[in-house]
Symmetry: C3
Subunit: 280 residues, 3 copies
C-alpha cells in the first residue's frame, strides 16, 4: 500500500462489536488518490470481521469532517487504479461496499463535509450533524464538473428530486439545521451533545443481535440503493466532466486563489466558486 | 371466529361514509393471534361496503394506540393460520388489503404505537399523532428479531433510507414531534386538538366523490407500495428471526422483567430492551 | 397561435443564460385552453435556445401564482388539441418537457398555486415559496375529479405516500411553512426576502457550466421522474373523472357560487369545495 507514512483513517476498536474510524488528514481532511487504498483497507477490515456490528466515522481535524478530492495529483493516478471487488472503480466501489455491508455505519459530522466528505456520509447508513459546526455540500458544479461518488444517485432517493437538484446545481453550503430539514442528515444535534448522542446510539445498536441487524439493513437496501450501473454512470459523468475545459479552467483558478492551501478558500468554498464563475 | 367475548376492534358507523375503528384491548392494546380474525373481519367489512369512504383508526386505551405482538401464545398459533385473500399470511395480508383498499384510512395516534401498532399506522393512508402523547417505534431489534408487518418495506419509501434504518436498527422511541420531522407521521397535532383535527379532515374527505377518491389513491399506490413479494419477504424474515436463540433469550428475559404485565416495561420499552441486551 | 391579444407568460431575458417567465393573466392567473399554446411556446423557446441555463417562473398578479383550469370553455377545446412532441396531450406534454429539459427551472411562488399552478411548480426543478403569501393546493377532489397535470405521479415521489395522499384527498390549502415541512417546496422564505433569494440562486446557477448542469439534472431525473405512461394515465384519469356527473354537479355549483369571478371563492377554495359537497 503506497499510502505514505500517515494513516488517514485511524481505526479504533472501542469493543469487538463497536469500532470507530477517525479521519485524520490535516489541515483539511482532503481526499486524494492516496486515500483510496487506506479507506479500502478499513472497509475490507470491516467486511472481514465476523464480530463488528457498528462503525462510526468521525474526524480528528477541527473544522473538517472530510473535504473534496485532491486536485494536485494527475487524474490518471485515480483512473489507472484497478477496479474493486464490485467491479466498479475504487472510490464508488468502496462506497457501494459500505452501503451493502451487513455492518451498521454512522457518520458523525462535525466541520465541513464537502464533495467526498458528503459522499462518504451518504454511503453511511445514518448521518448525525453538529448543529453549529457541520456543513454539508456538493460543491462540484462550482468547479465545472459533476459529483462522482454517489450523490447523483443517492441524494434524490434520500431527500427528493427538488432538494437534491438544489444541493447539486447550486453547490451551496448546507449547515446542520438546514441539512436536517432537507433530510440530508438524520438529525442535527447541538455540538456539545453530538459525541455522546452518537456514542450512546452506537453502543445501543452494537448490543443487538448481529444477524437481525444485517437482515433489517439488507431488506431496507433492497428498496433504497441505486444499482451498480447507476453508480458507474455517475462516476463516468464525473471523470468525463472533470476533464472538460470548463472544469480545467475553474479548478486552475480555484487553485490559484488558494484552494487546498488557504483555509479561507476551503471554509468559504461557495464564495470562491462564485468568484471563478463570475462572467469572464 | 374464535375471538372470545371481547371485540378488540370496535367499529362505529359515524355515518354511512365515515367509520371509526377503535382499538380496545386493555391494558396495553397488545396484538395477539386472536386479534388477527377480529382485524380481518373489520377490514373485510370495509372492503365489502359500497358506501364507506373514510375510516379512522384510534384507541380507547389511555397510553396505548396499539402495541406489539403477544409473546405468550406459541408461534404456531399464528403461522398455522390460512393465508388471506392476497395469498399472504394473515397479518401482512390484512395490512396489504388496507393499503390497496379504495377506502381512505387515517391513523389517529395517541399513546404508544410500537411494533404492530406502528405497522398498522404505516398501512393506513395518513397518520396524525398527538404531539404530547404519541410515541412510535419499531422495537423488534431490541428483542433480537426483525419487524414483520411492513416497516422494512414501507418505512424506507416513506422517510428515506437513513431515518428508516435508524428507527429499525435502534429500536428507539419516536415521539410525535420527532416523528413529524422524520415524516413517520403526516403531522404532530397538539393533543387537545387532535380529535377535532382528524374528525374535521375525515368528514371533509368523506363528503367527496367516492370514485375520485379511489382513483387518486390507486394512482398514488402505483408508485409507492411495495410488491407482495417484498411484503412476504419481510414476514419470512420476522418468522425466521423470532425463532432464533437470540430472540428466544431476549424475549424470555423481557417477559421475566414484566413485559405484557408491568406498565413500566411497556411504557419504557427502549430502556428494557437495553437491559436485556447488556453484555451477557 | 390563437392566444388572443394578451401573452399570459411574459418572457424576460435577464441575461443570455438567465430568463424569467412571469405569469400575467389577471385577476386570478387562471389557466385555460388558450394558455396551452402560450406556455408551449415559452417551453419551446427554452428548449431551442443554446445558451439559457436557468428559468425562473413567477407571477405578476398579486395573490395568485397560477390557479386552476378554466371551467368555462368546453372540455373538447382541450381534448381536441394535437399531442405534443412527447406524444402526450399538450398539458402533460409541456410539464414532461420542462422536467426533462436540460435547463434548470425554479418556481418562485407568491400567492395561490392551486391545481395547474401547483402542477407547474411540481414540474419545475425547485420550488421556493413566500412564507406569508404562498399557498399550494391540489383542490380537484373538491370539484369531484382527480388532478391531471402531474401531482398523482410526482407528489408521492417528492413527499411520500402519506402526505401526498393527504394533499390530494383533502384538497386543502398548504401555506408556505407547512409546504416546506412536507417537502412540497424546497423552502419557505420570508416574503420580503423571496425575490432576492431566488434571484441570487438563479444567478449563481446560471454562472456555472451548462453541460455539467445538464448532466446532473439528467442523472437525477433517471431515478426520480415518472414514466410517460404514468403521466398519461394521470391525464386520462382527470379527463374521465371531470366528465362524470359528480364533477359536473360540483363544478356547476362552484361556478354558481362565484368561482372564476368572485375573489373570495378563489382565495377560500377549500371552504367553497366543502360547501358544494355538504350532504345533498
Amino acid at each position: 500500500m503506497s499510502s505514505g507514512d500517515k494513516q488517514e483513517y485511524k481505526l479504533t476498536r472501542i469493543s469487538a462489536d463497536y469500532w470507530r474510524v477517525t479521519i485524520d488528514h490535516p489541515p483539511f481532511n482532503i481526499f486524494g488518490p492516496q486515500s483510496i487504498p487506506m479507506l479500502d483497507q478499513v472497509v475490507t477490515e470491516i467486511e472481514r470481521d465476523a464480530t463488528v456490528k457498528v462503525v462510526v466515522f468521525d474526524s480528528a481535524v477541527p473544522g473538517f469532517f472530510q473535504t473534496h478530492f485532491d486536485f494536485v495529483p494527475p487524474l490518471e493516478t485515480t483512473t489507472s487504479m484497478a477496479p474493486g471487488s464490485t467491479g466498479l472503480p475504487p472510490l464508488p466501489d468502496i462506497f457501494v461496499r459500505l452501503t451493502r455491508s451487513s455492518v451498521v455505519t454512522i457518520a458523525s459530522i462535525r466541520g465541513r463535509a464537502s464533495g467526498v466528505g458528503s459522499e462518504l456520509a451518504l454511503a453511511c447508513d445514518m448521518r448525525f450533524a453538529s448543529r453549529e459546526k457541520a456543513v454539508l455540500s456538493q460543491f462540484e458544479i462550482g468547479g465545472g464538473f459533476t459529483p462522482g461518488g454517489g450523490p447523483m444517485v443517492r441524494l434524490p432517493r434520500l431527500i427528493g428530486r427538488g432538494r437534491a437538484l438544489e444541493v447539486m446545481l447550486s453547490g451551496n453550503d448546507y449547515p446542520g439545521e438546514l441539512a436536517e430539514r432537507y433530510g440530508y442528515v438524520n438529525r442535527a444535534i447541538p455540538d456539545a451533545e453530538l459525541d455522546e448522542f452518537v456514542d450512546t446510539l452506537a453502543r445501543r445498536i452494537s448490543s443487538f443481535d448481529k444477524q437481525s441487524l444485517a437482515d433489517i439493513k439488507q431488506m431496507v437496501n433492497a428498496s433504497t440503493l441505486p444499482s451498480n450501473t447507476e453508480v458507474a454512470a455517475e462516476w463516468s459523468s464525473f471523470i468525463a466532466s472533470v476533464q472538460r475545459p470548463a472544469a480545467q479552467r475553474a479548478i486552475t483558478e480555484l487553485m490559484g486563489l488558494g484552494l487546498q492551501k488557504d483555509p479561507d478558500v476551503e471554509v468559504n468554498l461557495p464564495r470562491y466558486t462564485a468568484k471563478v464563475n463570475a462572467r469572464h
